[in-house]
C-alpha cells in the first residue's frame, strides 16, 4: 500500500543578482517523483547540495514548493490549509541531523516532550506525563532525566530525545534527515538499533536521508540516488548494492572505504567536484564527471526509464546502445 506519493516535485530558489539583472534560478529539487510504501524505509542518498534534505523538508511542508504534487494517504498536502497541515503533522514527524541544534536549550526534556502533546491536544493533561515516561523508557532514558536541559546530555542521548519527540504522537511517517551522521561510531549503532526497534514496534514508515552508504545498505528497503536535484537511480537496496547501473551510483558505492585492510576495492575516483547547481551542465548533469560520457550526454537530458523490473535509472548507456557496459 502506498503511503506517500510524490509527483514531479520541484523546488526552485531564486537568487537576486541586483535590481535590473535577471534572477538566477537554482533548481534544488527538479522534477522528482517517487512513492513510499507503508512500513518500508525509503532512502534518499547523495552528496551535499544534491537536494535530498530539501526534498525531505518539502514533504512536511517545512519549505514551500514550486510545483508538483505530494499525496499522503491520497490527500494532496500542497492543497491543505496551514491549519489542516499542522494537525496532519501529528502523523508526519521529522528527526533532524544535528541533535545539538534541534533541541531548545532553554527547555527541559519534560517540556520538549510535552510540546507536541499540547499542540495536538492529545491525552488528558494528567495522562501526558505518564506517556512521556513511557516513551523515555522506550528510547533508553529514564525518569531522572525529565527535568534536565539538553546541554546536560551527550550527542547520542540528545538524538534519542529528538527521536522520542518525533515518536511520542504515534506518527505513521517519519522523515529522518541524517539522524546518525553527527554521532560517534559506537553511539551510531545504538541509535540505528533504536530506529529499527521503533519501526517494528509502531509500524513506522521512514524516509531516511543519508550520505553514509553503509548505513543505508544496512537499514533501508529502497533507495533513490540523487544528483543535482534529480533522481538518477531508484531501486531496491539489495539490488542497488549488488548491481548499480548509473555511473554515479557505481562511483558512490566504490568510494565507501573498505571495512578490512585486505579487502581490495576497485575504485572509481570521480574527477572534479559537484558542479554549481545555479549553473548546471547541459544534457545529463553528470556528464562532466562521468567516465563513460558520450556525445549525446552533453546535449540530451536522459529520461528516467525502467531498465529492469523495478530498477529505474536515467542514463544514456541503457537507453541507446544496450550492448555497451
Amino acid at each position: 500500500m502506498t503511503l506517500l506519493e510524490v509527483k514531479n516535485l520541484k523546488k526552485y530558489y531564486e537568487i537576486s543578482q541586483g535590481l535590473f539583472k535577471p534572477k538566477v534560478v537554482v533548481k534544488a529539487v527538479d522534477n522528482v517523483s517517487f512513492s513510499i510504501k507503508k512500513g518500508e524505509t525509503f532512502a534518499l542518498v547523495g552528496e551535499s547540495g544534491c537536494g535530498k534534505s530539501t526534498t525531505g523538508k518539502t514533504l512536511l511542508r517545512l519549505t514551500g514548493t514550486t510545483s508538483g504534487e505530494i499525496l499522503y494517504k491520497g490527500k494532496d498536502l500542497l492543497a491543505l490549509s496551514a491549519e489542516k497541515m499542522r494537525s496532519l503533522r501529528a502523523e508526519m514527524q521529522m528527526v533532524f541531523q544535528d541533535p545539538y541544534a534541534s533541541l531548545n536549550p532553554k527547555m527541559t526534556i519534560k517540556q520538549i516532550l510535552m510540546e507536541p502533546l499540547r499542540v495536538h491536544n492529545k491525552f488528558q493533561p494528567e495522562e501526558r506525563l505518564e506517556k512521556i515516561l513511557k516513551i523515555l523508557e522506550i528510547v533508553g532514558l529514564s525518569k531522572e532525566h525529565l527535568d534536565r536541559h539538553p546541554n546536560e546530555f551527550s550527542g547520542g542521548q540528545r538524538q534519542r530525545i529528538g527521536i522520542a519527540r518525533a515518536v511520542i504522537l504515534n506518527p505513521d511517517f517519519i522523515v529522518a534527515d541524517e539522524p546518525v551522521s553527527a554521532l560517534d561510531v559506537s553511539v551510531q549503532s545504538q541509535v540505528i538499533n533504536l530506529m529499527l526497534e521503533l519501526q517494528k514496534e509502531f509500524g513506522l514508515t521512514y524516509l531516511f536521508i543519508s550520505h553514509d552508504l553503509s548505513v543505508v545498505e544496512h537499514m533501508t528497503d529502497r533507495v533513490a540516488v540523487m544528483y543535482l536535484g534529480k533522481i538518477v537511480e531508484l531501486v531496491d537496496t539489495e539490488e542497488l548494492f549488488a548491481n548499480p547501473k548509473h555511473p554515479y551510483t557505481q562511483a558512490l558505492i566504490s568510494a565507501v572505504p573498505a571495512s578490512h585492510p585486505k579487502e581490495v576495492k576497485e575504485r572509481i575516483v570521480l574527477k572534479g567536484d559537484v558542479p554549481n547547481p545555479a549553473n548546471p551542465p547541459s544534457g545529463c548533469t553528470f556528464h562532466t564527471r562521468c567516465p563513460f560520457a558520450m556525445d549525446i550526454c552533453k546535449s540530451v537530458v536522459p529520461a528516467l526509464t525502467e531498465i529492469e523490473s523495478g530498477h529505474i535509472t536515467s542514463c544514456h548507456l541503457y537507453t541507446n546502445n544496450k550492448e555497451e557496459k
Binding site: V185, S189, L252, A255, P257, L270, D273
Partner: protein
C-alpha cells in the same frame, strides 16, 4: 626505514577548568617510524586531538600543562620547547591538516598570500621563486588553473578544493611529519576518495611520515600501516593494521569493528557498545572501559590494567594477562 621519527613516552596532559583540574591524557605511549602511516582511532573525547596538539606545541599555554612524559621528535626533546623554538619546527618539519578546511583558512587573504606565509617564515626565497613554488605545489595536489587560484579567496573554492589547498599548505616546506586530524570527515564520499588517493600518492612520492587521526575505521583500513586505538585518554591497543582487524585483543576495539554496519547482516540489530565515553572526571581507579565492557570482571573495576604485549601487538586489558590470555570472540 626503521628509524624512529616521533616518540611519545608516558605523556600526561592536564587542563585547568573552572571546577578544578582534569587530565584528559593519561599516559600515552607510541612511536612513529620514518615513512610510516600511523592511525590514531578513537571517539570524540578520547584525547586524540589533544595529543596531536601537544606534538605541534599548540596546547593553550595558560590552561594546560604537560604533567608527565616526553615527546621526542627527530631525536630532539620538544616536550617543553619555548614557543619561539617551536615556530621553527611548525610548518617546516611538522605540519598539520585540520578537519574543517573553511575554518582553518583565513577568509580575508587570498590563497596565494596564505601559501606564501610558511615560505616567508622558513625559507629564504625571492618573491618570484616563491610564487613558482606555490603554483608547483598547487598543481601537485591536483588543483586546476593554479595560476588563477592563487588570487582567489577561500570562499570561492569548494570543500574538496579547500582541503587540497590545506594539504598543499602543509606540504610546502617538505615536512618530515604530517599530522592529519580527521582530514576527510567534513567531505563527501566521492571527494573523500579523491583526497585519500591524493594523500597516498603524495606519501609515496615524498617519503614522509603520516599521523592519521580519525574515528572512521574504514579510512584507517585504507590508509595506515599501524594503528593505535585511544579510549578515554589512554592507548588501549596498538597493532599492525591487518593484525588489528583480524585479531583485536581489546574488547573496545573489537566492539568498534563489530559495530560497523558492513560487518552485520542487513536489517539485523547492529552490535553496539552500551553506554558512552566517560568524562575525564568520571574515570575511577579501575579500567576506564570497565563499565561498558561485556567481559569485565572484579579485577577490571579494582585496578587499571598495565600494557601487555604479544610481540608487536600491545593491549591494555586484564584479559591479556600472561596467565589468562583469553581470546575474545
Amino acid at each position: 626505514m626503521t628509524e624512529v621519527l616521533l616518540e611519545i613516552k608516558d605523556l600526561g596532559i592536564q587542563f585547568k577548568t573552572g571546577e578544578g583540574v582534569v587530565q584528559p591524557i593519561r599516559g600515552v605511549n607510541f612511536s612513529l617510524k620514518k615513512g610510516e602511516t600511523l592511525g590514531v582511532v578513537g571517539e570524540s573525547g578520547s584525547g586524540k586531538s589533544v595529543t596531536s596538539l601537544a606534538i605541534m606545541g599548540l596546547l593553550p599555554e595558560k590552561k594546560s600543562k604537560i604533567v608527565s612524559g616526553s615527546i621526542h621528535f627527530n631525536n630532539q626533546d620538544v616536550t617543553h620547547l619555548k614557543d619561539r623554538q617551536f615556530r621553527k619546527l611548525r610548518g617546516n618539519e611538522i605540519s598539520m591538516i585540520f578537519q574543517e578546511p573553511m575554518t582553518s583558512l583565513n577568509p580575508v587573504f587570498t590563497i596565494g598570500e596564505q601559501l606564501s606565509e610558511p615560505l616567508k617564515q622558513h625559507k629564504k626565497m625571492a618573491k618570484k621563486d616563491r610564487k613558482e613554488a606555490i603554483i608547483n605545489i598547487l598543481k601537485q595536489v591536483g588543483i586546476p588553473r593554479a595560476e588563477q587560484i592563487i588570487n582567489e579567496y577561500p570562499h570561492q573554492l569548494s570543500g574538496g578544493m579547500r582541503q587540497r589547498v590545506m594539504i598543499s599548505l602543509a606540504l610546502l616546506c617538505d615536512p618530515k611529519l604530517l599530522i592529519c586530524d580527521e582530514p576527510t570527515t567534513a567531505l563527501d564520499v566521492t571527494i573523500q576518495a579523491q583526497i585519500l588517493e591524493l594523500m597516498k600518492q603524495i606519501k609515496s612520492e615524498k617519503d614522509m611520515s603520516l599521523l592519521f587521526i580519525t574515528h572512521d575505521l574504514g579510512v584507517v583500513a585504507e590508509m595506515c600501516d599501524r594503528v593505535v586505538v585511544m579510549y578515554a585518554g589512554e592507548i588501549v591497543e596498538s597493532a599492525e593494521i591487518n593484525e588489528l582487524f583480524d585479531n583485536p585483543l581489546h574488547p573496545y576495539t573489537k566492539g568498534l569493528i563489530d559495530s560497523l554496519p558492513t560487518n552485520n547482516t542487513r536489517k539485523s540489530r547492529l552490535f553496539s557498545i552500551k553506554g558512552q565515553v566517560p568524562r575525564p572526571d568520571e574515570i575511577g581507579k579501575g579500567c576506564a572501559f570497565a563499565n561498558r565492557c561485556p567481559y569485565a570482571f572484579d579485577k577490571c573495576i579494582a585496578s587499571a590494567p598495565p600494557t601487555f604485549s604479544t610481540g608487536e601487538h600491545l593491549s591494555k586489558c586484564w584479559l591479556q594477562e600472561p596467565e589468562r590470555q583469553v581470546k575474545i570472540q
